[in-house]
């Protein structure tokens, strides 16, 4: 058997800025097996949000991920609105659509730049991020902040658009539109990029279904799922747009799907600005009755899912979040094994993983008795024991 080495990617690796750990078992340059670990940085967001009042939670959940900070609050407020039976005003629905699509543009362009960086194409990195700026500026105009928009509230939207803001967003969209076409042509026609990305890290349709892949990861594998169309929320059912899919499921298709989705997002924003109805942006929601509610939103990476349970009190009794990376990241088992190391990095990055969304607590239980093997108090006791031992030996 060939000599097998372990190449670690992480826990801290320049490939990705978050703490994650991929173990690549390598023979020569070929990856023969892989394993991964996350949760180096568990923040207990669900726990925190169960200690906050209903209207404070959106500001907590938008910090689940710095990039999806419109999608998580929207999914949450939709869950609560379902529970409370609130009718959201028309204008607020359009505002939500605009902000969520702006978020999609900035997220996809961010990913496109990083993908360029991962394959050593730093010019793409810098250019994509430069043309992401107008989008961030637009978000700042609309919400007052470039990240963590704090704009979705239960029953509506926090900040209204003035005609000047509408004009400014239009201008910024025009600014992105031209360069975006350039990115798409470059991407489709550049021969070196094609050599580097085509037929790399193929996620077949069958495998994508098996792993329950979501969002652009699934759509690049020819699975046309999109919450915006399948279970419309905000104003998506009133607008004209397409679900983009590609057939091959390789990294190249994932690039194409995302770039074309940015194009669609610009289209959606322009329509929403044209059709923006007049009226209030907030219905008052006085109380949340006991019961359960779910909300899901097509975040840039796929469906993000929020479940809330109320006992009629001032805060959620249970709040559960399932972010898309939780489904997308494990697809590496199907797409990375058998690839050379050089392709694994870009394949891992191609699902646009977001580890902060995927962090989970792990509890070890005895299979037969169901008892926790090691609790926090056990760990504290062990730690104190060791301190005692060390003290004795000094």
């Amino acid at each position: 058997m060939a000599h097998r080495t372990l190449i670690p990617i992480g826990p801290y690796h320049p490939l990705q800025e978050e703490a994650e750990f991929f173990q690549l078992y390598v023979e020569g340059e070929t990856v023969v097996d892989m394993d991964m670990r996350t949760s180096y940085n568990h923040r207990g967001i669900e726990g925190i949000s169960m200690k906050r009042t209903w209207d404070q939670v959106p500001y907590v959940v938008e910090r689940v991920c710095g990039i999806c900070s419109a999608s998580h609050p929207l999914a949450y407020v939709q869950a609560v609105e379902e529970l409370a039976g609130a009718e959201v005003p028309e204008r607020a629905l359009y505002l939500r659509t605009i902000i969520n699509e702006l978020e999609r543009i900035h997220s996809h362009l961010l990913w496109f730049g990083l993908a360029g960086h991962f394959i050593g194409f730093n010019t793409v990195f810098m250019w994509a991020w430069r043309y992401r700026e107008p989008c961030l500026d637009a978000l700042e105009i609309v919400t007052g902040s470039r990240v963590n928009y704090a704009n979705h509230t239960i029953g509506g939207s926090r900040k209204d658009l003035t005609p000047e803001m509408v004009k400014a967003i239009r201008r910024n969209m025009d600014e992105i539109d031209g360069p975006l076409d350039m990115f798409i042509t470059t991407c489709l026609e550049d021969p070196v990029l094609a050599v580097r990305l085509k037929n790399v890290g193929v996620l077949t349709e069958e495998a994508a279904r098996r792993f329950g892949a979501l969002g652009p990861t699934a759509r690049a594998s020819n699975i046309p799922i999109d919450v915006r169309r399948d279970d419309p929320y905000a104003a998506y059912d009133r607008l004209d747009w397409d679900v983009i899919t590609c057939a091959n499921g390789d990294v190249f298709d994932k690039v194409v799907v995302r770039l074309l989705e940015v194009k669609e997002a610009i289209k959606i924003i322009r329509q929403a600005l044209d059709d923006l109805p007049e009226g209030p942006i907030q219905t008052p929601v006085k109380e949340v009755p006991p019961g359960e509610g779910v909300g899901h939103v097509e975040a840039p990476r796929g469906e993000t899912f929020h479940f809330v349970k109320s006992n009629g009190g001032p805060r959620p009794e249970r709040h559960k979040i399932r972010a898309p990376s939780f489904n997308n990241v494990p697809t590496f088992k199907a797409s990375c094994i058998g690839q050379p190391i050089a392709d694994v990095t870009i394949t891992l990055a191609a699902v646009d993983p977001c580890y902060s969304c995927t962090e989970r607590m792990l509890v070890a239980r005895d299979a037969s008795t169901g008892k926790e093997l090691m609790t926090l108090s056990d760990l504290v006791r062990l730690s104190q024991q060791k301190t005692e031992e060390i003290r004795k030996n000094i």
Partner: protein
């Protein structure tokens, strides 16, 4: 006396221009990427800073080879630089020695070999992969690189002396013939790989191997590697100009044309590195063996035919 001048210029002049070129490279790259770029003294500042840092050697490294490798690479570049400068400063037929072209070619492989040696000695898995990639790359580009020498050598009537090659181009540069031009193109590709920049930076591949072959180096040892890289950035264009483009002259129009040749080559290198992604190592090898290699062979045959030896 002339030898002393050649040595002083060869080492310090190459280092000076190398760092200057590194700055131009970084500045142009920054401007292409909508960034501001560093001030002119930055490459020197980087090296001075590294010189003041601690050299950390991993427990798993074999210390001697690990620390010797950067010195070997640096020495190789210095020797090649001295021979080239000597041929430039005194382009008379009687200067230099027979076969100095071959010696320069050999010393130009030194930095790559030193990198492989140092990476293998460092005991780091990333460096091991980096070393194996560098080895594959050397195997891939060396053959086209050497084959590309055939047209200039033929033009100089089968002389392997640098001064003869420069002299032979006084009535028209090697680059101007078909075979010469093709060989020149092959040379440019090989230069890119020798410099270890995109699309041929597989051995370092920051986002894959976190620096690969040089991941374990720090302090003065890393400074030496950086300086070697910088010197190569000047030395390889100088070599290409000497062999293909009539050399460097400092008289009359020479003051204008000589720097211009460097600028053209540097621009080509910088543009290539900014408009392409990193190739996979097998793609890079295939590129050199199945595209650059045959072109180099064709260039050699065309020149042989051209000089009536077939």
């Amino acid at each position: 006396m002339q030898a002393v001048i050649a040595v002083i210029l060869g080492i310090f002049g190459t280092a000076f221009f190398g760092l200057l070129f590194q700055w131009v490279d970084r500045l142009v790259t920054a401007r292409i990427q909508w960034r501001k770029g560093p001030p002119i003294y930055q490459p020197l500042a980087d090296i001075l800073k590294l010189l003041g840092k601690e050299t950390v050697v991993s427990e798993r490294a074999s210390v001697g080879w690990f620390l010797l490798a950067p010195v070997l690479g640096f020495t190789g570049v210095c020797v090649a630089a001295c021979i080239l400068w000597a041929a430039l400063l005194n382009p008379q037929p009687d200067s230099g020695f027979v076969g100095d072209l071959i010696v320069v070619v050999y010393f130009l492989i030194f930095p790559s070999l030193a990198l492989i040696l140092g990476a293998s000695a460092s005991g780091n898995p990333y460096a091991a992969v980096g070393a194996s990639r560098e080895m594959k790359l050397v195997i891939a580009y060396e053959l086209p690189f050497i084959l590309a020498m055939v047209p200039p050598i033929l033009k100089a009537n089968l002389s392997l002396k640098l001064t003869d090659i420069v002299q032979a181009q006084s009535d028209g540069v090697t680059l101007a013939s078909v075979g010469g031009f093709l060989a020149f193109l092959c040379m440019l590709a090989a230069v890119q790989a020798k410099l270890g920049v995109v699309p041929f930076d597989q051995a370092e591949a920051e986002t894959e191997l976190t620096g690969g072959a040089i991941v374990e180096y720090s302090g003065p040892a890393l400074a030496m590697i950086r300086l070697t890289r910088g010197m190569l950035l000047f030395l390889l264009p100088l070599f290409v100009i000497t062999v293909f483009w009539g050399g460097v002259h400092f008289s009359g129009w020479g003051w204008l044309t000589s720097p211009l040749k460097f600028i053209v080559l540097l621009v080509v290198i910088v543009l290539m590195r900014n408009t392409s992604p990193r190739l996979r190592i097998d793609q890079a090898m295939r590129f050199f063996w199945f595209i650059v290699g045959p072109i180099a062979v064709a260039a050699a045959f065309i020149s042989v035919y051209h000089h009536g030896m077939l």
